[in-house]
């Protein structure tokens, strides 16, 4: 029943000019799980992401992915931000295959996969379009497909739906759950939105600033598959209340 550990952080810490951005942090993420991190600005969640992705080197501690240390190395995770970061001069298809283009020669198999992913998730007709012809939600979908075809088992998603309107965001969340279930990837998901974290995840890490640290590690009891009706279940509301108290201090 229990999956093996995919990602393990041991005593990972980071200080920027005398400010402890991330206090020594231990964290294990199981393969195939969906884990959210919620917390206010400055709680060190993006620092944590950048250390895992290899953009930052921690001052102390070790990061292992599938048992292999990846400290300061890159090329081992899928990574997506609030900004879609599609390049305007490439078609949707060429944006999806961007990771391949940046590391080696793009093959016919890469292109075929990009086409099949786009067709499967409703963007097949837009393969030859430039990104500017797409809506914000479609662009984020393309950005996610680009992340998906990197074939990394760990996907780091940093507020990917943060810039979308509420309706589109909900559609994207449901879509992401479908894709996640089908792809069997492990997702580490940063968000400001407590509802989003509960709706999506198996486990929610609550972080707090000064110094940046994980203050709570909560299991999500809600059954899967989930749809919109879970948003009003008592278990959902209870968990939301618990997280809100952790984020904003006790009841006023």
């Amino acid at each position: 029943m229990t999956s093996p550990v995919l990602l393990d952080l041991a005593g990972v810490a980071k200080t920027f000019s005398d400010q402890v951005v991330l206090a020594p942090t231990d964290l294990s993420i199981l393969e195939g799980s969906f884990v959210s991190i919620v917390g206010p600005s400055g709680c060190g969640k993006s620092t944590l992401f950048n250390i895992i992705a290899g953009l930052l080197e921690p001052d102390a501690g070790d990061v292992t992915l599938q048992g292999r240390s990846v400290v300061g190395a890159t090329g081992h995770v899928g990574y997506m931000l609030q900004k879609d970061l599609l390049v305007p001069w490439r078609s949707v298809e060429d944006n999806i295959t961007m990771a391949a283009r940046l590391t080696r020669k793009v093959t016919a198999a890469d292109r075929a996969e990009a086409r099949s992913v786009a067709e499967r998730y409703g963007l097949g007709e837009f393969l030859d379009h430039y990104p500017k012809a797409l809506s914000g939600g479609m662009r984020q979908r393309v950005a996610f497909m680009r992340t998906l075809v990197t074939h990394q088992s760990l996907l780091l998603l940093d507020e990917p739906f943060g810039a979308l309107d509420a309706q589109t965001r909900l559609d994207m969340q449901r879509w992401l759950l479908d894709v996640w279930r089908e792809s069997g990837r492990t997702v580490l998901f940063i968000t400001h939105d407590v509802d989003e974290s509960i709706f999506l995840s198996d486990r929610i890490l609550v972080m707090s600033p000064r110094p940046g640290r994980i203050v709570a590690d909560l299991a999500n009891p809600l059954a899967r598959p989930r749809d919109l009706d879970v948003l009003t279940e008592p278990a959902f509301v209870a968990l939301k209340s618990q997280i809100m108290h952790l984020l904003h201090g006790g009841s006023r």
Binding site: L85, W89, M98, L102, H129
Partner: protein
Amino acid sequence: MKRAWVAKVMLPLASFAILLLLWQAVVVVFHVQGYIAPRPLDAIRAVTDNWSLLSPLVAQIIKETVYGFLLGAVIGIFFGVVMSKIPLVQRLLYPMLVLSQAVPVIVIAFPLATILGFGSVKPIIAIVVWIVFFPVTVSVIDGLGHVDQDILNLAKVYGASRWRTFVQIEVPATVSPLFSGLKIGATYAITGAFIGELASPEQVAATGSSLALYIQHAESNLDSPAVYGITLLISIIGVAWFLTVSGLETLATPWLRRTTVRRWRRRTIAASPDDH
């Protein structure tokens, strides 16, 4: 599409025609003396009547403009890339490049002619290069310096090498700023060629004369129609070159105007077996 064409080509031509008509009207209505300002038709005739004499000189100045522009663009891009990739080089060279532009071109024209040879076309092209490379270098440095850091980080997370990041991300992101510099260079290139010809105290050997010498000669003879006609001709060449570079920009940046990639770029999509 048809409307855009009208707006882009017909309107500028119409405004040019109106300008000529106004000129003609002012000269006729106010009885302006011919040696002060000729009628536009006289100016045009001064060019067309002497076309067999002028055409090699026109070809000459176009050659100087285009060669100087191309060489200036290449040198400008080279400086821009090297300076933005090696900060030390940028700090050393940037003040010198600015200094080079602060010196009036006409001042450097004579030493250049002395160094590169009187009567040769080389000092003229060198002056065009001198004028063109600077805006190109500045635009390349700005372009490469303003590539979205998040996209560069994304490439890094994917494990991209510096070279591939440069080719796949930084170069295409710099195309639009580069063309801003190229268009400025294209506008000034013809002026550079003309100043070069003026500064060349001997005739350009290949044609035995130059457009600048021709216009100087006309000025000393108070031949206003010729002076105005050639001025018109030179500005038309300048505008034509600017439009050519603008056209190249349109070809080089299809994503700014189009919704989909051009058909010949869609080969992979057309090859899809389940395509309708």
